[in-house]
Symmetry: C2
Subunit: 149 residues, 2 copies
DNA sequence: ATATTTAATTGAATAATATTCGAAAAACAA
DNA sequence: TTGTTTTTCGAATATTATTCAATTAAATAT
């Protein structure tokens, strides 16, 4: 047993997927070369950032999903973008947004369980100047990444 | 001009992408048939729900991104899952979660602009028994769908 | 309006890739 | 051990992506 599963999951998050040109061509009844041309154009324009897999996260040991809301200390307020980028680097972070309202940053996190989550958040709070944080835990994921579950 | 772009964007949200078996095989130095076998297994298990494109949403006219927090009326409280599923059906809804805390549902929305957003939210509030809702608008998307922007 | 340039479409040929099949090896259970 | 199921993987085939060159369409300039 080579346990290729974990390697695949990792690569699928990085990309390693590609459009199905022939299938699209059949679907919208256009020559595949035309589809090819248009897709390459979208990629060059930057409209398409990549292609990746959508998981059932429970099945890959990341069933604990939380939204974390962060308010920075006043002295770090101007560094929100830097801090957001730092947080974005962690692989269990699905998304990071700088937002309007009582909190500066919304982080969507995917962890194995609450222990895993707790360790991660404690580390974040210490590392960056975070005045206040609270979280909402997903009890049921109804839709993710435009895919209905 | 056939304006294939919009059709591609629509199809890419539904899937119409596929893993790059040969590229993965080279990357982790295993035979492509072994990779093929393992991917099909992941799909059968349901761990992989599909493959799709990740966009730079500004580039495809969906630059206005908001998180919408919904509290239901007490008489609709037991219907939260039904309502969440209804909301999930709209194509500009990226994700829907039923969560812990002061609000029952978190919706991540992608709209063209604030007008577009306003029309959508007003419709939602009327249609479902929503006691209270508030939103946070993304000023800057730092990471989405595990992709750094 | 017409010439000029640029962008988009497409078929044919080729290159690359996915898939099927069957056999062998490994893991697992009784 | 023995039989059963799962996983690996090479060879052959089927399918798909990509390149190229030519045509057409669209945009732009004169």
């Amino acid at each position: 047993m080579k346990d290729i599963k974990q390697k695949l999951i990792k690569l699928f998050k990085e990309g390693y997927c590609t459009p199905q040109i022939a299938r699209i061509a059949k679907k919208i009844k256009e020559p595949s070369t035309t589809i090819h041309y248009n897709i390459k154009k979208l990629e060059k324009e930057g409209a398409v950032r990549g292609y990746n897999a959508v998981f059932d996260y429970k099945e890959i040991g990341l069933g604990y999903c939380t939204y974390l809301f962060i308010r920075l200390n006043t002295e770090n307020y101007d560094k929100s973008e830097d801090i957001a980028k730092q947080i974005a680097k962690y692989e269990n972070v699905e998304s990071v947004d700088i937002v309007t309202g009582q909190y500066e940053i919304i982080v969507k996190l995917r962890c194995k369980d609450s222990d895993d989550y707790y360790v991660f958040v404690q580390r974040l709070l210490k590392k960056y100047g975070i005045a206040k944080a609270f979280s909402m835990t997903s009890l049921k994921q109804v839709k993710t990444e435009f895919v209905n579950l």
